[in-house]
Amino acid sequence: MSEALTFHFDVDGENFTSAGQASVQVKKNLRQLGLTPEIIRRVSIAMYEGEINMVIHAGGGMADVTVNEDTIEIVLTDHGPGIKDIDQAMQEGFSTAPDSIRQLGFGAGMGLPNMKRYTDHMHIASTVGVGTTITMQVNIPK
């Protein structure tokens, strides 16, 4: 695997039922590449949390996954409302999700901290009124 592999997905913000499809596809692709179950699980959980966030908080967006020799990078970009206070959003239990989202099984304020926990690197760039870009990396051990 000397050349980087890239996967691009558009994430539909109108449809909660289809949310997570990109992460399911990435999980399949990573399995085919023969990566370890541990690495695959970390990448797919982090991406799934981010994908769900784009659907419930930002009206959808884009996901780009790059598989390099030593690292997998996930970039999630949306043009949603942005995050006002990133430190606050990163705290376990902080959520602005309405009850309607909680009834669907989400909105405990665990997603962003979970994304950080499962990845080796995570960076959030967000501007209120413009959108959010989250970059995550999971290293592939030699």
Partner: protein
């Protein structure tokens, strides 16, 4: 515990992937919050839930779970069953409520996962 034993203990109806009833599972978790499943589950192969939507199947798939038990007679949609079939995930439904279903499985040796601070 074999998945087929779970089915008997819970008097459950299997909805798909019966061919995998012989697979063994060692721990389970019960939750209606997928956020919590994603954050706290480690190696549990079974999810018991009263929540019905496609994200239940996808969450379980992300966690590498192999069986979902719907409690209180909840039924997954045909679309959810299709998603589960793609991964060979066993879906079943039981009349029992969450607390009872979990209790029965626990009592018969299917444990949960201890958190560090528990």
């Amino acid at each position: 515990m074999k998945i087929s034993t779970m089915k008997e203990l819970l008097d459950a109806e299997v909805l798909c992937c019966e061919e995998n009833l012989g697979r063994h599972v060692y721990s389970a978790c019960g939750s209606d919050m997928m956020s919590d499943v994603l954050a706290y589950v480690k190696d549990q192969a079974v999810l018991l839930t009263g929540l019905v939507n496609s994200q239940v199947i996808r969450t379980a798939e992300m966690m590498d779970m192999i069986c979902i038990v719907f409690v209180r007679s909840k039924l997954p949609t045909p679309e959810m069953i299709e998603l589960a079939k793609e991964n060979g995930m066993v879906l079943m439904t039981t009349k029992k409520r969450m607390y009872n279903a979990c209790g029965i499985l626990y009592q018969n040796g299917l444990v949960g996962n201890r958190l560090k601070n528990e």
